[in-house]
Subunit: 249 residues, 2 copies
DNA sequence: ATTTGATCTTTACGATGTAAAGATAGGGAG
DNA sequence: CTCCCTATCTTTACATCGTAAAGATCAAAT
């Protein structure tokens, strides 16, 4: 650990220890109150002392995740990035698990949105069938840290409604896509073994491919293909050899 | 963190600070020197002061991994379990990454052994085709902590020869199995897109299935199947709908 | 205007990884 | 046989982390 951060974490912010009314708008924090440079427009976008911290922390966490990766995402780092004390997040998320879960929920929502819009944009049946898994992998490649949060779980609290709903929506989208592809809607809560196998197979394959790709375990395979072959091409080759399954056979 | 371990880590072992020859065989350590209760058989299995620590640490790490899971596997916990000071592992593994990598190498070797013997035991072509993936998932279910170490990487140093070789052997086994199944041996270092797709698809599917299963993300699907359906049955259904691929079609 | 309660900061504690310096033998050089 | 050398292990120290508890601060309600 230790990332050459120096600065012994104590005495970071001057904070004007004992001066209740020194310069009226002394603005003790610096990283807050940035939007609406003009004074209040009767809407108080950032309520000065509190209110926007929760969103600010989530934004900061996402920024850290994209900049420093999963290892850099600590409670204290998030607080530092947001310009507040290291214990501030506690009141909003309770826990590191809480913050990560809430962040993962955001990730799932964006993830679902990306897949849905990719599906909508497709025209031919074949492209429709390929659109979802391709969007899946594309999202993971574009946001590896977020995908790691979402799936390399361990520290995720699914009892939180936001996370539960977002992840559930993701699973429902997959299930519906498979059902639509097989022209065999799902009845009630039960599944036939065939249906379950189709769903689990599709999910396993795409998830496994994504994990192996992000972990760099497919580079050997890619290097043994004609130079310049992209992961997307490999994925497409995999999908095309699996997806069709014409009624016969 | 904190697992109710109390004991402030200082002043753990009496160690007989200043008594060079108090009772001759004072046995300062307790967790070492256990084999060969009879005195030395001219072979000195455990060289009294050093030598077997490396293996002891790896054993301790594996024990912790199976008992407390991935979160409990820390350098200090391993040292504690082995009955040595918390800095002792440094000299043998250099790093937490070093220890985990070495442990993962052992895991890969056992993993490969399990799959190979499962393959050898199979008789019919169909069972041969199913044996490897089933053994794959079975190993992961039996040793989830170890599988996590091996694949939920992040802290793995593939430049270590032991890990590199063991993981490479695992990949080679998969590749050979696919090649044998397609009756189309691989020529040289290059792969056709079809071959690469077959390999990547097989690996992605089994790995993805395993991850989702270990993370509990397949329980919903399993609960919507006839009660009592096991993960193995689901896996078999998935494989049977994928593997055959008869020459036509 | 005073109190109240939510929000944020300080302070503190145990745990972790890692580095550096001190102790301890096992084994060779003289 | 004695003495030193080197690998091995222990102590000590430090920065960081998550988390809990107590103090400060401000918006708003009474």
């Amino acid at each position: 650990m230790a990332k050459a951060e120096s600065k012994t974490e104590t005495a970071r912010r001057p904070r004007a220890k004992r001066a209740p009314s020194s310069a009226s708008s002394a603005r003790p924090r610096q990283a807050r109150k940035i939007s609406s440079a003009k004074s209040g427009s009767a809407k108080t976008e950032t309520p000065y002392h509190h209110g926007a911290l929760r969103e600010a922390l989530l934004k900061a966490a996402e920024r850290i995740l994209e900049r420093d990766g999963l290892a850099g995402l600590t409670l204290r780092a998030v607080a530092r990035e947001a310009g507040v004390s290291h214990a501030a997040p506690t009141h909003h998320f309770g826990d590191l698990t809480g913050l990560i879960s809430e962040l993962a929920a955001i990730g799932f929502r964006n993830f679902n949105k990306a897949m849905a819009s990719a599906c909508d944009a497709a025209t031919t049946p074949l492209s429709r069938a390929l659109a979802r898994p391709k969007a899946y992998v594309a999202y993971a490649q574009a946001h590896p840290g977020m995908y790691g949060i979402m799936f390399r779980t361990e520290r995720l609290d699914y009892s939180r409604p936001s996370l539960h709903e977002a992840a559930e929506a993701s699973f429902a989208g997959l299930t519906n896509a498979i059902a639509a592809m097989r022209q065999e809607p799902i009845i009630g809560e039960t599944l036939t073994l065939d249906q379950a196998a189709a769903i689990a197979r599709a999910w396993s394959m795409v998830h496994g491919f994504t994990m192996l790709l992000l972990d760099g375990r497919l580079t050997d395979i890619l290097h043994r293909l004609p130079p310049g072959t992209t992961p997307e091409q490999l994925l497409e080759a995999i999908l095309k050899s699996t997806v069709p399954r014409p009624p016969g056979c």
